[in-house]
Symmetry: C2
Subunit: 198 residues, 2 copies
């Protein structure tokens, strides 16, 4: 699929079919993720691919519990896209246990927390996560970029055995889509470009 078509239609797919995803396709997504940029080509990223039912249930349960205290009904005056997003995020948090695959994108810390160069860990693993999202779209797979792992960090670490010094960047549920891909909803480009000065 064409680059611009894939990026422009990589809508967050928050509803997934239960059908399994071929491990070769997951490897292709990780291949794409690892083509991303990183400072000095340091490639400070790791990917935990979770298909084990118990692990998904533990993580999904902990995230859903944590989110239950946060999510409310969308405000009555919220516009349609915000309502769809909030309802979709709630549904997604509640269905992590049944998503065919979860991919946890991790980063190896080069600098200790609080060091100004701590940001470098994110400058490798978030580009990788975005390549994965666009690649999933190109393969027709549904995926959503989330930071749900932050809501249940200790359960995620404990379940997967993530070392303390490894940072967790994104938790991406993946499967065959139960909603259609289509144009993403974004602000006009003019609002975010500054020519020569802020």
């Amino acid at each position: 699929m064409d680059v611009f078509e894939a990026m422009g239609s990589a809508r967050a797919i928050r509803y997934l079919k239960p059908d399994p995803v071929d491990p070769e396709l997951i490897e292709k997504l990780i291949w794409a993720a690892t083509r991303a940029s990183s400072p000095g080509n340091s490639q400070g990223w790791d990917f935990v691919v979770i298909t084990d039912a118990d692990a998904k249930a533990r993580i999904g349960g902990a995230v859903a519990d944590a989110m239950a205290g946060i999510f409310r009904e969308p405000p009555a005056d919220a516009d349609r896209s915000v309502r769809l997003m909030l309802n979709g995020a709630r549904a997604l948090a509640g269905s992590l246990a049944t998503a065919p695959v979860l991919v946890l994108v991790c980063g190896r810390m080069v600098y200790p927390p609080g060091n100004p160069d701590e940001q470098l860990v994110w400058s490798a693993c978030y580009p990788a996560a975005q390549n994965l999202i666009v690649a999933a779209r190109a393969l027709g797979l549904g995926a959503t970029f989330t930071t749900f792992q932050r809501r249940a960090e200790q359960v995620v670490r404990g379940t997967l055995g993530i070392p303390d010094e490894v940072r967790m960047a994104a938790l991406i549920p993946i499967g065959w889509p139960d909603r259609e891909h289509g144009p993403v909803n974004r602000k006009p480009v003019e609002e975010v470009i500054h020519w020569d000065r802020w």
Copy 2:
């Protein structure tokens, strides 16, 4: 261009021709960048497009000065790709003033520094930066993901008028390539995939 072909050949292009780049192409890159994921579709990104010769000279001069104290000759036993990267990075730092376009990718802070959710600012602007890199490759433009702005933060802020509360994620020189795109050099996928457990 196909998604996987573009990602797989989006080599960091550290040598650029002086020819100007049509502003419409830059807008297309920013369009692609803003198709990226962000938490709750918050789109917390801004892009400063720098073509002004004085601004480029000030920023380029400050970065080159700061880097002069850091870069050394590559170690004699460094392998070829590391030598090429170090020499290329030094050349790039020295040629920011003459790059046709610099794009500074910025993020709006949602949480104050030190807050655990500070990472959310990076989870929007680094995905956007990566989409820009892949889109540049698809258009045949040369680009390199750098964090050079961190070497001369006050000069960059002052020259461009970046507000204190805005974070700077990446500084990406863009132009027509003076080296060829080609397969990126990365670790094998098996080394970074963990199936079900770290």
